[in-house]
């Protein structure tokens, strides 16, 4: 993956830091559950941006590290239930990779709590809402990603 020194300009309202969270959702379960949550008009925090992935096993470590380097506050990796992966074991591999990155995040100083992997089925819209709400709250308590541009951090302090 090509790594750039480019600083991302992330949308933060001046003066009020709000957690920004990415949810990588697999096509066959997590994304379908998110879709269902939408169809049922369930409310969940607006801080989350969903990225559709064919399978959580398709998420490379670099994708996650890149997002953190660019200042994302938290990442949720959401896949099918263990044993229920459309690609048989993609979610089990994703679990091992997220575990490894969590260790690295502690060493880096970003902290492992900002990354979480969860599993739920396509029918579990409430689980999607619960996990998204939880990670947003966890990240809110932790404060902004220390890699955020200093201007963004300052606005967080003011808030």
């Amino acid at each position: 993956m090509i790594q750039t020194d480019r600083e991302e300009t992330t949308a933060t309202v001046a003066g009020a830091w709000e957690p920004q969270v990415i949810a990588f959702c697999c096509n066959f379960c997590a994304y379908a559950a998110a879709d269902l949550a939408g169809a049922k008009r369930m409310q969940y925090p607006v801080n989350v941006r969903i990225i559709l992935t064919p399978c959580t096993g398709k998420i490379e470590m670099e994708h996650i590290l890149d997002a953190f380097e660019k200042g994302i506050d938290g990442i949720l990796v959401a896949g099918c239930l263990e044993g229920g992966c459309h690609f048989i074991e993609g979610n089990l591999r994703a679990r091992k990779r997220t575990d490894r990155i969590r260790e690295m995040l502690d060493e880096i100083g970003v902290g492992s709590k900002r990354l979480k992997m969860v599993n739920f089925s396509a029918a579990e819209a409430p689980a999607f809402v619960r996990h998204v709400t939880e990670i947003v709250e966890t990240v809110r308590a932790l404060g902004p990603n220390p890699l955020k541009k200093s201007s963004q951090k300052e606005s967080a302090v003011e808030a």
Binding site: Q3, L65, F68, E69, G109, V110
Partner: protein, 222 residues
């Protein structure tokens, strides 16, 4: 092949703490295959170290590249241009590669990113085991192709020790007894009679024990 494991992010970060511009160089051969020092691992380590430095408030300018082999000058020369632009190089090769790079770039610090482990093979996905110590006088013919010098914890050359079991070595339950394997193997190739020969004490003068060795092949010298 040579098997290595990555050093921790913290160790890597501390090693290059004094430098502001660093080049990470991966190696495309053994260490790529053992998932320790290839292009992908260089990429991941780059993210980690760069982020850690940014958090410490000492941003690091990091460039990265991976060459075919770091233990050969022919390939190392591709690094020269990038190397000239940085304060230090971190080599993701085995110990031989790191030293080859250091020799090639005098006046430039070269640091290892891996812990080189051994000469071994891939047993199953992400499991490697040591098979050869490079003793300089191979005795595999005598032992059915299983090396007691490397794989027997006590380096027994004339049959198993008293603690041998059919399942595992007495020193570690995770490891088969090399002598059990030798027996089975010689039996399967119909050469059990090889075990009748008494092996004299091994001549270790061909091994590492007297310092780094050199191989000179007169027939191929130019």
């Amino acid at each position: 092949m040579i098997v290595a494991t990555p050093k921790s992010v913290t160790e890597l970060k501390n090693t290059i703490a004094q430098h502001g511009k660093v080049l990470f160089v991966g190696c495309g051969t053994c260490v790529t295959v053992c998932l320790a020092g290839g292009e992908r691992e260089v990429g991941i380590a780059s993210y980690a170290v760069r982020m850690a430095r940014k958090i410490e408030g000492k941003p690091l300018q990091l460039s990265q590249m991976t060459i075919e082999r770091q233990c050969e000058n022919e390939f190392i020369k591709d690094v020269a241009e990038e190397a000239a632009k940085v304060d230090a190089i971190v080599s993701f090769a085995c110990g031989a590669g790191v030293q080859a790079m250091a020799e090639r770039f005098p006046g430039k610090p070269v640091y290892p990113a891996l812990n080189t482990q051994f000469l071994g093979i891939l047993e199953e996905q992400a499991v490697w085991t040591e098979k050869c110590l490079g003793c300089g006088d191979c005795m595999l013919a005598q032992f059915g192709g299983i090396c007691p010098v490397t794989r027997c914890a006590k380096r027994m050359l004339n049959g198993p020790c008293g603690g041998s079991t059919e399942k595992h070595c007495e020193v570690s339950a995770d490891r088969p007894c090399a002598w059990q394997l030798i027996y089975k193997r010689l039996e399967s190739v119909g050469q059990l009679d090889r075990l009748d020969a008494i092996m004299p004490p091994k001549d270790w003068s061909t091994a590492w024990y007297s310092g780094a060795r050199q191989v000179v092949r007169k027939d191929h010298r130019v």
